[in-house]
C-alpha cells in the first residue's frame, strides 16, 4: 500500500535535515505504529507524505499503490486515497463543517472521475457516521473546528476519515489531548474502519492508544530513521523502560 524508501527530508527554512533515510512499508489490511521520542521526525514524516509546504525531499521515494505521491499536490494525494488525521486540526472560521465535508468529498470524487454525492445521500451518510462518533447536529453546523474541544477536534478528524474512506490513513498523535473516554470513542471509530483493503500508520508517543488500536507492526523512530521494528510487544517495552534501552542497544 504505502512504500517509503530511503526518504531524506530537509526543513526548508532552517536548512536542517529531519529525515535521514526512512524505510517503511505498510501493507493493505495492516496497522503500523511509529513511536519515538520528541524531535525524532515522526510528524515531519506525516507532513511530507501529505504534502505540506516547507519541506524538501532530497533523496528517496514514497509511493501509494505504486504511484509516486511526492510529485503530487496535497489534493491529488487525498484523491489518490491518502488521509492524514492532524495532530492539531485547523480551525476555519466562516466555513461550515458540513460544507467543508461535502466540498472535500465531491472534489475527491470528481478527481477520480466519479459522480458527486447527492445532497440527500450525503446528509444520510454524515448523520449515520456522526452518530457513532457522538458528534451532534450542532457540531456539524458549526464552522470547521471553531470552538471545538480537543476531543471534539479529534472526533471530527475521524468523522472526515469515515466519510472520505481513504485507502491509507495516517494518524498523527491522535491521542494527544484526549481523555480516556474520548480516546475510546476515537479508537472505536478507527477500528470500525479497519479493513483488508486499508492501511494504517499510527504515530504516537504512548502505548495506551495502542491498547485500543492494536498494531500489527511497531517501529521505533529516532533521529530521522527507523531504528527498530517489531511486534506489539515493542510498544510495551517502550512503555516500561522508555527509549533509553533501545537507543543504547542500537548504538
Amino acid at each position: 500500500m504505502l512504500e517509503i524508501k530511503n526518504l531524506h527530508v530537509d526543513l526548508e527554512e532552517e536548512d536542517k535535515t529531519i529525515l535521514k533515510g526512512v524505510n517503511l512499508t505498510v501493507e493493505a489490511g495492516k496497522v503500523h505504529a511509529i513511536m519515538g521520542p520528541n524531535g525524532s521526525g515522526k510528524s515531519t514524516l506525516s507532513y511530507v507524505l501529505s504534502g505540506r509546504d516547507g519541506y524538501t525531499v532530497t533523496e528517496g521515494s514514497a509511493t501509494l499503490e505504486g504511484e509516486d505521491i511526492l510529485e503530487m499536490e496535497p489534493e491529488e494525494r487525498a484523491a489518490a486515497g491518502l488521509f492524514l488525521a492532524f495532530q492539531y486540526p485547523v480551525e476555519i472560521p466562516g466555513v461550515g463543517n458540513m460544507t467543508f465535508l461535502r466540498t472535500a468529498m465531491n472534489a475527491q470524487r470528481k478527481a477520480r472521475g466519479e459522480d458527486e454525492i447527492s445532497a440527500a445521500d450525503f446528509l444520510k451518510l454524515v448523520r449515520e457516521k456522526a452518530k457513532t462518533l457522538k458528534i451532534d447536529a450542532d457540531m456539524l453546523k458549526r464552522p470547521v473546528n471553531v470552538g471545538f474541544s480537543g476531543g471534539e477536534k479529534k472526533r471530527n478528524e475521524i468523522l472526515q476519515m469515515a466519510m472520505l474512506e481513504p485507502k491509507m490513513c495516517i494518524l498523527d498523535e491522535t491521542d494527544s489531548g484526549l481523555d480516556v473516554d474520548a480516546m475510546k470513542l476515537v479508537s472505536e471509530g478507527v477500528n470500525a474502519l479497519r479493513d483488508a483493503g486499508r492501511g494504517f500508520l499510527v504515530i504516537t508517543h504512548y502505548q495506551r492508544l495502542l491498547d485500543h488500536i492494536k498494531p500489527d507492526v511497531v517501529h521505533i523512530m529516532f533521529d530521522g530513521r527507523i531504528i527498530k521494528t517489531g511486534g506489539p510487544e515493542l510498544a510495551l517495552e517502550v512503555e516500561k523502560n522508555g527509549y533509553a534501552d533501545i537507543l543504547s542497544e542500537v548504538a
Binding site: P74, E75, V90, P143
Partner: protein, 430 residues
C-alpha cells in the same frame, strides 16, 4: 489705490462659480439654494484635505465625468431576480417609467423628486437636504451638498405601514460619458418596516445621496450591490437619523470599480436604537474602494456595528475611515467596528483609519483592523482533504467575507449576494 491682482481660480473654484441650479418649486429651490451656499462655503474636496487623504477626489469633482466603458455581463441573470420586489429603474440617472413597475405599493407612498420638487409644499421639505446638512459637521461632505444642489431625479419614499415587498432601485449604465446625480429620501413612520435594494453601475460617474429618517420603533433594511462596470466612478452618501427603538441595517457589496467612495453618516438620536453598516468589496488592479463611516451616539443604550471586509488583488487599493462618536450622556453605548482586508497578492494595499471619540463614561466600544493573506494552515488543511487549491482559496475568501454578509437579515437576499460573490471569484480562478 491700485486693485490687487486677481488670484487665479483653481479648477474647483471655477466649477463652483459656474454651477447653476435646476428650476423647481419653492421648497426644492430653497433647499438647493441653501445647499449651494453650503457648498461654496466649504469648497469642493481637495487632495490635501485630511478626509481625502487616502482617496483622490479629482475624478469625482472635475467638471466632466471621465469616460467609462460599459461592461458586458454576458446575459447574466438580473440581480435580486429571485426576490419579489418593486422595480424602479434609472438609466444613466434618469427615471425610466417604461422599464419600472407602477410606483404603487401597499404601506408605502413613492413619488419622483422630479415631480414632487415642482410642488410648492411637500412633506419631503423637512428631510430633503436636512439630514445631509446635519451630516456636514463635524466633517464637511461637499459632494453630498453638491448632490442636494443639483439633483433633479430620485425617489421620495414615505413608509406608513410595513411595506409589502422590497423596493429595488436599479441603476443602468448606458452612456460611457453619463454623469448622474440622484437624491432619494426614505421616511419611515413609527413602527413601520421597509427594505430598499439597490443595484447597478448607474453611470460613468454617479453621485448619489440617500437620506433616511427612521421613526420610533421602525426598521430599515438596505442591501446594495455596486457592480461590475470597472471604469465607473461613484460617490455615494447615506445620511440616517434613528428614533427610539428603531433599527437600521445596511449592507453593500462592491465588485470592481476604479473609484468608489461610500460614505455613511448615522445619528442615533433615540434611546435603544440599533445601527449596523456592513460592506464586502472585491477588486483587481486599479480598483479603488473607500468606505467612510461616521456614527454618532446621542442617546442611551444604543448599539452600532460596522463590519467592512475587502478582498484586494493585483495592486488593488482599499480604504476604510470609520468613526464612532459617543456624545456626553449617551450612556450604555455598545459600539463595535471591524475593518479587514485580505490581500491575495502582495502589491495590493489597505489603508485604514479607525477612530473612537467618547464623552460618556459608561460605554463599551471596540474596534479592530487587520490586513492579511490567506491562512496557509487552513489552505493546507482543505487541500489535504482533497479540495483543489483554487477552490480552497475561494472557500477561505468567502469565509473571510462571511461576517459582513451575515449582517443581511433576509436569507434569500443573503443567498443572492453569496452567489454573486462566488461568481466573481470563480471567474478569476487560476
Amino acid at each position: 489705490m491700485m486693485a490687487a491682482p486677481q488670484a487665479k481660480m483653481t479648477a474647483n473654484q471655477e466649477r463652483l462659480a459656474a454651477l447653476s441650479l435646476p428650476e423647481g418649486g419653492t421648497w426644492a429651490m430653497a433647499a438647493r439654494g441653501a445647499a449651494l451656499d453650503r457648498l461654496r462655503a466649504m469648497g469642493l474636496p481637495e487632495r490635501r484635505d485630511e478626509y481625502w487623504k487616502f482617496t483622490r477626489p479629482d475624478s469625482l469633482v472635475q467638471a466632466e465625468a471621465p469616460k467609462a466603458a460599459l461592461f458586458d455581463t454576458g446575459g447574466e441573470a438580473e440581480m435580486f431576480g429571485g426576490v419579489d420586489r418593486l422595480r424602479i429603474v434609472f438609466v444613466d440617472g434618469v427615471f425610466d417609467a417604461e422599464a419600472s413597475d407602477d410606483l404603487a405599493l401597499e404601506g408605502v407612498r413613492i413619488e419622483r423628486l422630479a415631480e414632487a420638487g415642482q410642488s410648492d409644499i411637500h412633506w419631503a421639505k423637512d428631510t430633503y437636504g436636512v439630514l445631509e446638512e446635519r451630516g456636514q459637521t463635524p466633517v464637511a461632505r461637499p459632494l453630498a451638498a453638491l448632490n442636494t444642489a443639483l439633483a433633479t431625479d430620485g425617489v421620495l419614499i414615505h413608509v406608513t405601514a410595513a411595506a409589502s415587498k422590497p423596493i429595488n432601485l436599479i441603476y443602468i449604465h448606458k452612456s460611457d460619458t453619463s454623469d448622474a446625480v440622484l437624491h432619494h429620501i426614505v421616511k419611515l413612520d413609527a413602527d413601520t418596516e421597509a427594505t430598499i435594494l439597490e443595484n447597478g453601475p448607474a453611470a460613468a460617474r454617479f453621485n448619489k445621496v440617500m437620506e433616511v429618517e427612521v421613526g420610533d420603533g421602525a426598521t430599515f433594511h438596505h442591501v446594495r450591490t455596486q457592480g461590475r462596470d470597472h471604469e465607473r466612478r461613484a460617490a455615494t452618501h447615506i445620511f440616517a437619523r434613528l428614533g427610539t427603538k428603531s433599527a437600521f441595517k445596511s449592507f453593500t457589496m462592491t465588485a470592481n470599480g476604479v473609484m468608489t467612495r461610500n460614505e455613511c453618516v448615522i445619528e442615533l438620536t433615540g434611546d435603544d436604537a440599533t445601527a449596523h453598516v456592513a460592506g464586502a468589496a472585491m477588486g483587481d488592479g486599479d480598483f479603488h474602494h473607500d468606505d467612510t463611516v461616521f456614527i454618532t451616539h446621542d442617546a442611551e443604550r444604543c448599539e452600532s456595528r460596522q463590519v467592512f471586509k475587502k478582498v484586494l488583488r493585483n495592486g488593488a487599493t482599499g480604504v476604510f475611515q470609520g468613526k464612532i462618536l459617543v456624545k456626553a450622556g449617551a450612556q450604555k453605548t455598545d459600539g463595535y467596528q471591524i475593518s479587514q482586508a485580505l490581500l491575495l497578492e502582495d502589491d495590493s494595499q489597505f489603508l485604514a483609519k479607525p477612530e473612537l471619540e467618547i464623552y460618556a463614561d459608561d460605554v463599551a466600544c471596540s474596534h479592530g483592523s487587520t490586513t492579511g493573506a490567506i491562512d496557509e494552515d487552513a489552505l493546507y488543511y482543505l487541500r489535504a482533504r482533497g479540495v483543489p487549491k483554487a477552490i480552497a482559496t475561494d472557500l477561505l475568501t468567502l469565509a473571510f467575507l462571511a461576517e459582513a454578509v451575515e449582517e443581511i437579515s433576509d436569507e434569500a437576499l443573503r443567498g443572492e449576494i453569496n452567489s454573486r460573490l462566488e461568481g466573481w471569484l470563480e471567474r478569476r480562478r487560476g
